[in-house]
Symmetry: C2
Amino acid sequence: MTTGPIEGSSKRYEPVPGAEHLRYPVRRIHLSNDEHFDVYDTSGPYTDTEAKIDVTSGLAPLRDDWDRPAPVAGAATQLAWAREGITTDEMAYVAAREGFDPEFVRAEVAAGRAVIPANHRHPESEPMIIGRAFAVKINANIGNSAVSSSIDEEVEKMVWAARWGADTLMDLSTGRHIHKTREWILRNSPIPVGTVPIYQALEKVNGDPAKLTWEIFRDTVIEQAEQGVDYMTVHAGVLLRYVPLTARRVTGIVSRGGSIMAAWCLAHHQESFLYTRFEELCEIFRRYDITFSLGDGLRPGSIADANDDAQFAELRTLGELTAVAKSHGVQVMIEGPGHVPMHKIEENVRLEEELCEGAPFYTLGPLATDIAPAYDHITSAIGAAMIARAGTAMLCYVTPKEHLGLPNRDDVKVGVITYKIAAHAADLAKEHPRAQERDDALSRARFEFRWNDQFALSLDPDTAREYHDETLPAEPAKTAHFCSMCGPKFCSMRISADVREYAARNGLDSVEAIEAGMAEKSAEFAATGNKVYLPVRAV
Amino acid sequence: MTTGPIEGSSKRYEPVPGAEHLRYPVRRIHLSNDEHFDVYDTSGPYTDTEAKIDVTSGLAPLRDDWDRPAPVAGAATQLAWAREGITTDEMAYVAAREGFDPEFVRAEVAAGRAVIPANHRHPESEPMIIGRAFAVKINANIGNSAVSSSIDEEVEKMVWAARWGADTLMDLSTGRHIHKTREWILRNSPIPVGTVPIYQALEKVNGDPAKLTWEIFRDTVIEQAEQGVDYMTVHAGVLLRYVPLTARRVTGIVSRGGSIMAAWCLAHHQESFLYTRFEELCEIFRRYDITFSLGDGLRPGSIADANDDAQFAELRTLGELTAVAKSHGVQVMIEGPGHVPMHKIEENVRLEEELCEGAPFYTLGPLATDIAPAYDHITSAIGAAMIARAGTAMLCYVTPKEHLGLPNRDDVKVGVITYKIAAHAADLAKEHPRAQERDDALSRARFEFRWNDQFALSLDPDTAREYHDETLPAEPAKTAHFCSMCGPKFCSMRISADVREYAARNGLDSVEAIEAGMAEKSAEFAATGNKVYLPVRAV
């Protein structure tokens, strides 16, 4: 199990304003100029040097002693409480984490524009919020399959993903030990955990979709609800009449859940139990405060199939189901594509917000091209950054192994860091109040040649340092006023620092000032400039 | 030296329509279903099994026997000839490569909306075109510095970059042996080569910008022109009065050329010789048909500095210089940022096209965030795809080592593949006539489990196969109707293939058809469905 702080930083817990009995986690990055920079922290107790980690007993049940208001008309959910005007501990906690006012959080949750996935049975989780008004979140998928991987590996992948910034985790296990794997993950996960219950239900009928029933599915949902799963993907929008719309596609149905339900619908020539029994499902979800992640079973699996009739027909049905779920006080988010060329991305967000009452959109990428297997973390980061900028609230990561194999530990890290990049780029474009502070802090460190600070402020300090070491290993190089791109005497950063000092010293920081004052100053510059470096070698 | 075809493909030369004495290169990808797919090929003779490669003697001078029209008013350039209504061999060649009409190519070049960088003294190069109406191109930077790397390494990096898809190459060497390194690269390069002559000029004055003169710069340009450099970056837009505008920036001046000229302007309190002698420079360029790459010496080096006064003041000056260069018959492209958040990207293209008469825009990324050193190929691919979609004609790649060190061979490949992704994603979004064909071919192969075809059609067949081998090494797995994500019996692709067969067989490919015909067919499906897989296990 990976523990200990990320290089250059330490874990802190800050009191939640207005709810001082709560403390939220922060990662404090320590800078060489005696300053520090605090960042949002998803890593849980694993990066806390004080914390005792024992996987067999799991994490401390953080939320067990938090206030839990009485159910509202049977719904013990953040949505129901928010609508009642109640600001829960979870709302205060996420408000503090993100730097928003608790009342704003309550209002966004009440409107269904944001969700706080927090099953009462998963007290180990540190609440977080998903909604377009907040920082864009990322989800990491893990899960073993018939082909490979063990429980220990999966738990370590969870800790590892959270360490590097995963906001939520989906356990997509399909092999043996599904229940046990999930139990280990939940008891040790500081971040919300999602599942696709139909996978386990299918195991129970020996993998034959036609044999699935409402009862088997319902019992599976309750089993997982009792374990503490925070959100569940339900492909209730796959209707019988939509299935043939996929027949002429280049890649048909690529969603596992979607293909199960399509097979069921065709075999029975009926609408699925997910659709016909949806309200009964809502009754279960609202007892635990499980959040719906309404699955896009007919999402496009290729550029050719993007934004087609099958995809948008299902989206319209998801919109109807969103209204039903909310009428039961159940939180909802909507899953999205998949594979979409850049010029068709915005329409997905526009339609989702229009049809689903602004429920948080949760997309898989999308990949902006199909031609780069082994680089689909990159093809999808392009689409992910754009769709997040357009309003998507959470991005499901894609690893370099997408379409080719199962991600290992390194793939998980690359996927998470890549998606932190896409999410942060979108936060900048959305002008999220805090987003640019980190860019500015890192760029100042870069400009001032504070190499160690630049590493510490980066999303992956270990790799940044490793790459710098490849060319300039010596520790002095970490404070040297140059880098390997230009060498010791060639440095544009250095010369522009000279320009700055010079201009500042002489008040030459405007067109007017320089045209007035440059003449007599220019000689002086040559002198001072040459003092800085002899000879001044700047390129 | 890396030679031999890329996996699953072979080199071909096709006759140029209307100019059958010319043949252009194509990479033919061979598919398992006896079909093939031809792609644009930048790799030169190195992937031709017939070709004899001898680095010491260089490539054959392909263009030596091509028709070269007489100069027009002193200008022996593609621009001057295009304006005269002459369709050159180079224009016919690039038209064939891209699948456009030669007359369309001529018109775009005549209008200055596209350039064909082809110095008469670089006959080894295979002509290519850069312009917003054509496929988006990518440039790879190489070059040793005071700190590291050898001539052999640089030549191999060039061959390697071209192999994976680099359309042009910039030699940014700053260390010793600049002249010799460039000679080796040019004589062996099938793609246009660009330089930044001020780097070598600075060597000649022992690195002191203040000692630079027009004469030293001019002689350096002529030396490089004689060697065959196809395009040169000239930072003629850095004016004295713009320099102080960078004083309050977070990262000042990050362009090496920009900082040299800024230092010169401040030291002499004059406009630079690049600006005052610009027309004399045009006279030299037009004799060789060297293309200007007007450098953005004041480009932003951080998110905070994007789209500021210094950047756009210089861009206006580049617009004036564009008009001057074109009046001398010299081809021009304009360099762009740098670091720009997503919401400020489009303004860069809009202004460049407005101020520079639609001259091809050539940008470095831009990086969409500053916080991910070691992943700046990804942060910049997001910005690159977006700025290319908006109209940028060529993208300068960024490698994972950006800001940290010098790229090695692996970094060069990752940078090139990442930028092929960004460029292709933009071609799709611009609905370039041929772009989606490759996505569709690969997606069909994926859907039909033609694994080897999927690898061969991908941008990096070697890595795609390697990743698949990690989980399913055996050769049979390359034809198996499943993948490691779902395992042998769990497969959404498989079940949707069943759906397709079923729907097609029964004409159930529309909402109407299925609502009419489903009832009696559903039973049949269960049967046929089960014939396909017993039990049907689809997830």
